[in-house]
């Protein structure tokens, strides 16, 4: 079929099932945008900053479990994507980023808006492509989607020089993808599965540590079945939040620096840790030399390089989480194991009771606001967070009840992520309420996309926990730097309610927990974006807290 590169890329995207693109046009990507002008099957959402386009695509991917696509022009458009791509890379999210590039004849000449986006994104993508022949476009797009989604997901970038967009050639979409350098191992080794079951059967104090890999492998049911079969408590990493309903009796919540007390205490007492789809990040393990030193660790991950990268494990299983868990369940069933409630589980339940969340009442605080939000929202509502105290209060006190309803930048910790992520989530799931749990510092980093929210009909709720500070940094200054609040005072600027109104959204400032609850209830029903400014005390700390470099045993409670 004779067509231009621009037509080919749009057609190839459609063949991959792309329904939504988040992007901003610019000089070097205009031919593709010209094709999008007539496009009926793909919804293009015009963002107001490329970083937001990448975050929105990332959230779209996390909510749907499939790829999310963003698009930008060359040079500054492409570099603005970088923070979003790095965020997706750290959290293993299948983002496809498409960038314009100067014509091939100008590459290397420092042409206007030229940047080496291949060089820049090599360490933060699973792979990247620069199109050098129009005919290659169908193959490259197919490969890009395969690499982004197969095995451990991650972002892939396609750089499109302008002459590759305008060039016309005979395009064949019927291409086979054969990537000899990327063949993830999906099936667990049977012997390793037997050994894992041996360990689990003999364990007196087993625990399951579940991570983000459960999301990407869609192994929710298997995780739950295995936990119930073993009667083993389940803790999660921050990225694993929501892989098991957090109101399930066996779920103890997140471990880590701001993990729940019962979760941190329990994992440190376990004798066998079944870790699935986790990478043992420093924020999860605390001082790594003292992490579960008494326990035997079984580590299931699809990425072989995660095995023994951070923590030495007794039994590695390189496989897809769903298949590995199924194999373990089968072997356990074959051996006829069905555990009763053990002494261990009773101990864990006692801990859980001891540290259970209290009802929100009294002062308007960050922690209370998050608890009220949970009370108001339906189970299927999606929550995105910014980064910092707001995020950790959400982690501690917002119980996630359904898969893929909690979206947060865990690995990179990108301030400004939450709001554009909420827009991406809303684009993917217009049928459910979407809330950004924000801080005043974070929200101000990407707040310009209120314009997107209003003009693209993506109504979300932004709950700004406003302590007029870069709160998490201020907390560290309070605890470790002798209250020397170096450059963390944001001086109460701006007036978020009026800012929202300026964008055509609704803005409200609340003064009490009751008022917050009322406003949230109305906001959930509203068909416009609502920004709720929630003033909270400056000195409120996120607790518990494992100080940096300390073991999970050394929590400040």
């Amino acid at each position: 079929m004779k067509m231009s590169g621009s037509q080919a890329i749009v057609e190839a995207l459609k063949r991959e099932g792309v329904k939504t693109i988040f992007g901003i046009p610019g000089g070097a990507i205009m031919p593709v945008y010209d094709v999008l002008y007539d496009e009926k099957e793909i919804r293009h959402i015009l963002m107001r900053h490329e970083q937001c386009a990448a975050h929105a695509a990332d959230a779209y991917a996390r909510v749907t479990g499939g790829p999310g696509v963003c698009m930008a022009t060359s040079g500054p458009g492409a570099t603005n994507l970088v923070t979003g791509i790095a965020t997706a890379y750290m959290d293993s999210s299948p983002v496809i980023a498409i960038t314009g590039q100067v014509p091939t004849s100008l590459i290397g000449k420092d042409a206007f808006q030229e940047t080496d986006i291949i060089g820049i994104t090599t360490p933060i993508t699973k792979y990247n492509y620069q199109v050098r022949s129009v005919r290659d476009i169908p193959r490259i797009v197919k490969e890009a989607f395969y690499i982004a989604t197969a095995g451990r997901p991650g972002p892939v970038l396609i750089d499109l020089p302008k002459d590759m967009q305008t060039g016309v050639d005979d395009i064949d979409f019927d291409v086979d993808v054969e990537i000899r350098g990327y063949r993830p191992n999906l099936d667990p080794h049977p012997l390793q599965v037997k050994r894992a079951v041996d360990l689990l059967v003999e364990a007196e104090r087993p625990i399951i540590l579940a991570g983000g890999g459960i999301h990407w492998s869609n192994a929710y049911g298997e995780l739950l079945r295995l936990a119930e079969l073993l009667m083993a408590p389940v803790v999660t990493t921050f990225m694993g939040k929501g892989v098991i309903p957090e109101n399930h009796p066996l779920c103890l919540g997140c471990i880590g620096m701001h993990g729940r007390v019962e979760a941190n205490k329990s994992i440190m007492m376990a004798d066998v840790v079944l870790a699935v789809g986790v990478r043992f990040s420093d924020r999860s393990t605390g001082k790594v030399d003292e992490f579960c030193t008494e326990a035997k660790i079984i580590h299931i991950d699809i990425d072989p390089s995660e095995i023994r990268k951070n923590v030495s494990v007794h039994l590695p299983i390189v496989a897809d989480a769903k298949r590995a868990l199924n194999a373990i369940i089968d072997e356990l069933t074959r051996r006829g194991l069905k555990r009763e409630k053990s002494e261990w589980l009773k101990r864990v339940e006692t801990l859980k009771k001891e540290y259970a969340d209290t009802e929100p009442k009294g002062e308007l605080t960050g922690a209370n606001a998050v608890k009220v939000l949970r009370k108001v929202l339906p189970e299927n509502a999606i929550v995105a967070t910014e980064v910092g105290q707001n995020q950790m209060w959400a982690s501690l006190h917002f119980k996630v009840l359904k898969p893929r309803t909690f979206i947060s930048s865990g690995g990179l910790g990108t301030m400004g992520f939450g709001f554009p992520a909420s827009l991406g989530a809303k684009a993917a799931r217009p049928d459910v309420p979407v809330v950004d749990i924000a801080g005043d510092g974070s929200f101000l980093m990407t707040e310009q996309d209120l314009a997107t929210s209003v003009t693209e009909d993506l109504p979300v709720i932004v709950m700004v926990l406003n302590n007029s500070s870069l709160g998490m940094v201020a907390q560290w200054q309070r605890l470790f730097f002798g209250r020397r609040y170096s450059h963390t005072d944001l001086k109460g600027i701006p007036d978020f309610a009026r800012l929202a109104e300026a964008f055509g959204a609704r803005g409200v400032r609340v003064h009490s927990l009751n008022e917050l609850e009322q406003v949230l209830k109305e906001a959930v029903r509203a068909d416009v974006t609502v920004v709720i400014d929630v003033p909270i005390p400056r000195e409120e700390n996120v607790l518990p807290f494992v100080p940096p470099g300390k073991s999970l045993r050394e929590m400040i409670i």
């Binding site: 090599t122 360490p123 000899r180 350098g181 390089s305 023994r308 990268k309």
Partner: protein, 167 residues
């Protein structure tokens, strides 16, 4: 820390060396040397990489290499059962005939070859294990080395064991 030799078959296309060297830099691995050239398969290049590190590090290096989409296969060579070679060109200051004679003698002992002679310098081409080249270079220092170029290591397992892409 011990030195390890890795051989890798990689896609023979632009940018692959960048991806490999970039990964080493970003993961904080130390490359002693890296060489790239064609392999027995048309569209595959072969890299020989010498790294320093403990057992865990070299295990991570291999896994991180394998993780790169353009890297098809990686194998760790056992130094005792491999042929390990490097080539060096050394331009030596030889102002008098005694120096010239010495260099020729030493080159013969090391099975090197004189590949260029001028009024006051000679170039020796020498091939062998890196240790052997080190020893020769050390000997030449007293005469004065004007220029030194080494290729870095290439290596191959002896006998039947070979680095191949499974079909």
């Amino acid at each position: 820390m011990a030195e390890h030799i890795l051989a890798a078959l990689v896609e023979h296309k632009p940018g692959v060396l960048y991806r490999v060297s970039n990964m080493f830099r970003r993961r904080n691995f130390n490359i002693e040397s890296i060489t790239v050239g064609v392999s027995e398969v048309k569209d595959l290049a072969r890299m020989t990489i010498t790294v320093r590190g403990d057992e865990l590090t070299v295990e991570q290096v291999i896994k991180q290499l394998q993780k790169l989409v353009d890297v098809i296969k990686v194998s760790r060579l056992n130094p005792d059962r491999s042929v390990v070679r490097e080539l060096a060109l050394i331009k030596i200051h030889t102002s008098d005939s005694k120096a010239k004679g010495d260099v020729v003698n030493y080159a013969n002992i090391f099975r090197g070859r004189i590949v260029d002679v001028s009024r006051d310098s000679m170039i020796v081409e020498i091939t062998g294990s890196p240790d052997k080249i080190d020893a020769f270079v050390e000997l030449m220092r007293s005469y004065g080395i004007k220029e030194l170029a080494r290729t870095g290591v290439v290596a191959m397992s002896r006998g039947l064991k070979s680095l191949k892409v499974e079909e």
